[in-house]
């Protein structure tokens, strides 16, 4: 068993709340990458990310400290594209109301950084080999 735990907090109008959710895999396969450093102005930096089976994915967390474009499987994003905002992680887990933005098994990803500063990116994937 392995878990990927997500925690969301909000503070507004004098009220604070925290919500947690957990993605669980009985036969876990973790694929982690980072920090991936992408220089300012770099186009399509290739990152090896083999072994991600989209049908087995249980949880995804991707974060960057700068705005970056992440494209999966090709420089045209044939496996999906994410325009990631600085310090706003992309999260997905089984049961989310939003659709997973990775659309096919991942063999590689390409990152473009036009943010004006060097970017540091972290990626975490949890998949279940028994799924």
């Amino acid at each position: 068993m392995s878990d990927m735990n997500f925690s969301f907090s909000i503070s507004v109008g004098g009220q604070s709340r925290t919500y947690r959710k957990t993605a669980t895999a009985t036969d876990p396969v973790n694929v982690n990458a980072g920090p991936i450093v992408v220089a300012n102005g770099q186009t399509d930096k290739a990152v090896s990310l083999g072994g991600i089976d989209v049908s087995q994915l249980k949880g995804v967390f991707i974060a960057s400290d700068q705005d970056v474009l992440i494209e999966f499987n090709s420089t045209a994003g044939s496996g999906g594209s994410i325009s990631l905002e600085a310090n706003v992680p992309y999260t997905w887990m089984v049961g989310d109301i939003h659709t997973l933005l990775i659309t096919s098994d991942v063999t590689a990803c390409y990152i473009t950084n036009a943010s004006g500063a060097e970017a540091n990116i972290f990626m975490y994937f949890l998949q279940d080999a028994t799924a």
Binding site: G41, T43, D67, L69, S115, G116
Partner: protein, 105 residues
Amino acid sequence: MAKPKPNEIAVYAVFEKEALPEATAAYGHRNGVTIQGYEPGTLTLRTFRGKYDLGISRFVGEYVFVIAAKPDDEAKTFTTLPGFAPTTKAARPSKAQPKDEVGNV
């Protein structure tokens, strides 16, 4: 977008991902034509900073230029940048240009 520093100007631009290398090649180079009223050789391109809009498949952001105290004729220059057409019309008076050269005495 972050506010430009006092010695900088920022100019809005939109271009495709494939054009980013052309923009980065001009980093550190000075303007070969007038931009926003600043005479050739008085602006150094520091960077482009923007975010990719998946809806229009383009980067949306701004070029950031550092304003020099005086023109540099020896510096490498650029005349065009992706997604942005430098103007030869003075949008505002250039501080770097002597008044008698623009008939403003």
